[in-house]
């Protein structure tokens, strides 16, 4: 009964709005203290969004509901879904996608692109150093205990030379825009960063639904990621190989990112393998094909470090390939990303990034870091414990938005709980001031209207032999709950197509 009433009311609202010829932005509310990407310059919209607003303004709410449903079924039919395990049966759901794109102008993009490359290069040099001479520690730029206590530092990688000295072939950098209008890096992801397939899907879905809008903008393509990724992988082939055989390795079709793994393999035209499809003989890696064994030279691995080789790491892992690490150590196969990169995208290392960039590249960081308090330092720990309500507290080694406490959202009891946790294991936590992520008009399903929602941006950077590439676009993630700052898809986040404009 209640549901029925609500439904009727919404319907009436739509009817009224249509009758008044109101468009989908008529009821868009702007909160003055938030940085709105579309209205950042004051009352009027940003010039780059003007045309888009005009075009979208031509749609009635009913039109837009229709378009939105079409876009959803496009995702659903293409099987770009994830499983939700319910009590009775599993359901397939699509990742929420927003039809209103985010636009990044040429000048802003220059900063993001050069900043992403700078970080990726610095991280790569840092990784080489911490697994070889450890100069940065000897020079006391980064404290030793940060490395020695890191759960992600792999002793097995000490002294191992990855082909062409590259560790983080693929980096995902999470960037936000603060209310001061500047970009800040929230974190680096250089283990198995995911999400790039959604960049391509979002573009496809938007083109299917609203192809007309592309006539008015000159946006860079995003479909060239796969060819650049393949070039990157081929460029780091082991010595003595002319034309390398590259593969993508996946944990299997029940993995939540399986769609992405299969998309990348398909787009690159290479095999998607599982651990059981590979074997190692005399320290060379082969895949089992219908014509017999075929040597594999480069593996884009989407399996975590500890699962790649049961002989070297977790002995009970069935996802990996016995003997793979030995083949890697001998330089007979290249793994992308290299094992052990997790030590550098640790949230505690993050805080040293400005120093790391300076140390290796002798450059000023192009993208700012968010100021970070280390709970491992007594004076900073004291500040954190006293100011939990003003801070975001994050565990240093969790990914996917898990374990994050946002101070101003906590009750008194919850604050006490956080204080206790941090006191117990200070090394596990860092704290940052609560940043106000910029907001963007986002279509909200239940309300049939646009509202402000917080967004971030994940860029994808490739490093190969004599090759640097940043995908011109990246994944704009949206926190769909009003006021929420956590954008990860595992926490109910959605995403937007992201246009980088040509000059």
């Amino acid at each position: 009964m209640e549901a029925c009433k609500i439904k009727n009311r919404t319907f009436l609202q739509i009817q009224n709005q249509v009758a008044k010829q109101e468009n989908i932005f008529s009821s868009y509310l702007r909160k003055p203290n938030l940085y709105d990407e579309v209205y950042s310059s004051g009352e009027a919209s940003n010039p780059i969004y003007k045309k888009l607003l005009d075009l979208y303004g031509q749609y009635t709410v009913a039109d837009f509901v229709n378009l939105n449903n079409k876009a959803k079924s496009s995702f659903f039919n293409q099987g770009i879904t994830f499983q939700v395990y319910g009590e009775k049966d599993t359901k397939e759901k699509i990742f929420p996608f927003d039809l209103f794109p985010r636009i990044i102008d040429h000048d802003d993009w220059q900063i993001i692109e050069s900043g992403s490359i700078q970080r990726a290069k610095a991280l790569n040099l840092f990784l080489w150093d911490v697994y070889h001479d450890k100069k940065i520690i000897k020079d006391k730029v980064v404290p030793l205990d940060l490395i020695s206590t890191s759960a992600n530092y792999l002793d097995q990688m000490i002294g191992v030379d990855p082909p062409n000295k590259i560790y983080n072939h693929i980096s995902g950098t999470d960037i936000i825009r603060h209310s001061d209008g500047n970009f800040y890096v929230l974190e680096d992801n250089i283990r198995c960063p995911s999400g790039v397939s959604y960049v391509v899907c979002n573009r496809t879905a938007l083109k299917r639904a609203l192809f007309g809008v592309f006539n008015h903008y000159q946006a860079h393509t995003v479909t060239n990621y796969a060819e650049n990724l393949l070039e990157t992988l081929e460029s780091v082939k082991p010595q003595g190989v002319d034309s390398p055989t590259c593969v993508v390795i996946t944990p299997g079709m029940y993995n939540s990112a399986y769609y992405e793994h299969s998309y990348l393999a398909k787009a690159m035209g290479i095999e998607l393998v599982e651990g059981r499809d590979l074997f190692v003989e005399n320290d060379f890696v082969y895949m089992k094909t219908i014509n017999g064994p075929l040597k594999v030279d480069v593996i884009y691995r989407r399996i975590d470090d500890l699962f790649i080789d049961p002989l070297e790491f977790k002995p009970d892992s069935s996802l990996g390939v016995p003997g793979l690490f030995a083949a890697y150590r001998k330089g007979n196969v290249c793994l992308a990303n290299a094992p052990g990169t997790g030590v550098a995208d640790d949230k505690a290392i993050y805080t040293y990034m400005p120093h790391i960039i300076k140390y290796y590249l002798n450059e000023e960081p192009i993208l700012s870091n968010v100021h970070t308090y280390h709970c491992s330092r007594p004076d900073e720990l004291k500040y954190v414990l006293e100011n939990v309500d003003k801070l975001v507290i994050k565990p240093v080694d969790e990914a996917g938005g898990y374990g994050i406490s946002i101070g101003n959202k906590l009750t008194k009891a919850e604050i006490e709980k956080v204080q206790k946790q941090v006191k117990e294991s200070p090394r596990k936590y860092i704290a940052q001031p609560i940043l106000s992520l910029s907001v963007h008009p986002t279509y909200i399903d239940d309300k049939n209207s646009f509202e402000q929602r917080h967004i971030d941006l994940r860029t994808f950077t490739l490093l190969g032999k004599n090759k640097e590439f940043v995908l011109k676009g990246g994944l704009t993630r949206v926190a769909l709950q009003e006021g929420n700052l956590v954008v990860n898809s595992s926490q109910g986040g959605g995403s937007k197509d992201t246009w980088v404009l040509k000059k």
Binding site: S262, E271, T289, I290
Partner: protein, 315 residues
């Protein structure tokens, strides 16, 4: 191509083809029985038994009183029944998922839509009113899938493996249909001359394999046992015949095995041998002992499938 993935694609082809034959068998038998020429062939029990016989469920021969809704559901949408269409479609999509990087976006999207159509089909509607709608949708969707397979995949090893699955399954299903309808014809006899040879069931058999019009055009007569068997087994021009399926298996095998003179007992060898035998077989050799022929040929097809497994999918 990976051996594991090849195996999955082979079975994707088989499951797609299988669901089509089950759906058409249900449709044709159910609806043609409504105005069949005699009481027995018009009876619901007779049709339901025939469906179970074709699928290989022993309940069809146990003289039980069968419930129409239960039988239809078991063949159509019951996920607990191993041979149901829904389980075949699920398996086809699961296999497609595991080879998603190899098949085209277009083919995957069609399989996915097909899967969701079956998954969301209302069971009550199906067993009460939806039999025609459901089965026609299945046969049309599989036709679309075959079109996508043919026109959106590179005609390389991947294509050859899928087509091998489809054609081995097709020949198997045609033999099963012959088996079931022959069984029916023995029971529901025609009204003139040789009552078995002139049974109405031969017409139904041709319709079960979409070959009735072709048969009429070829023989210009009401189908009989002789013309039906000859057409469905030996006529290489009939696209659903065992002969045609084997010809296709033979040519797709050559993509996988390029040796000119196949090794003794390799898949290529077994396929070629069976194909050569059928090429020079006369319908009289089948007609006199249909049961024995069916058993022999099913064993040979099984043998081919087993050898493929050993030769290509053993990973």
């Amino acid at each position: 191509m990976l051996a594991r993935v090849a195996n999955n694609l082979f079975w994707m082809g088989r499951y797609i083809e299988r669901s089509e034959h089950i759906a058409r068998y249900m449709n044709v038998n159910y609806f043609s029985s409504l105005d069949a020429p005699n009481d027995l062939s018009q009876s619901r029990q007779f049709v339901l038994e025939s469906m179970l016989y074709m699928i290989g469920d022993p309940k069809g021969q146990e003289d039980l009183k069968l419930s129409e809704k239960e039988v239809l559901n078991n063949l159509g949408l019951n996920t607990k029944s191993s041979y149901s269409i829904i389980n075949n479609v699920k398996a086809a999509r699961e296999n497609a998922n595991s080879a998603r990087d190899l098949i085209s976006t277009e083919l995957y999207e069609s399989i996915n839509k097909f899967y969701h159509f079956v998954l969301n089909y209302d069971v009550d509607h199906f067993v009460n009113k939806g039999l025609y709608d459901f089965t026609v949708n299945i046969t049309e969707s599989t036709a679309i899938l075959r079109g996508k397979i043919r026109s959106t995949l590179l005609h390389d090893q991947v294509y050859a493996i899928i087509m091998l699955g489809i054609n081995i399954e097709r020949s198997t299903q045609i033999i099963r249909i012959i088996n079931a309808k022959y069984h029916d014809a023995l029971n529901a006899k025609g009204s003139y001359g040789d009552q078995i040879a002139n049974s109405f069931e031969w017409t139904t058999m041709l319709k079960c394999s979409e070959a009735y019009d072709m048969n009429r055009r070829f023989y210009k007569k009401t189908p009989t046992r002789t013309t039906t068997l000859e057409f469905l087994v030996l006529n290489g021009d009939c696209p659903r015949s065992v002969m045609n399926s084997l010809n296709q298996v033979f040519s797709h095998m050559q993509v996988l095995d390029r040796t000119k003179h196949p090794l003794k007992n390799s898949t290529s060898f077994l396929v070629g041998k069976l194909r050569a035998e059928l090429s020079y077989m006369l319908v009289e050799e089948i007609e006199d002992n249909v049961k024995e022929f069916i058993e022999r040929i099913l064993n040979r097809l099984y043998e081919i499938s087993q050898q493929m497994e050993r030769e290509f999918f053993n990973y």
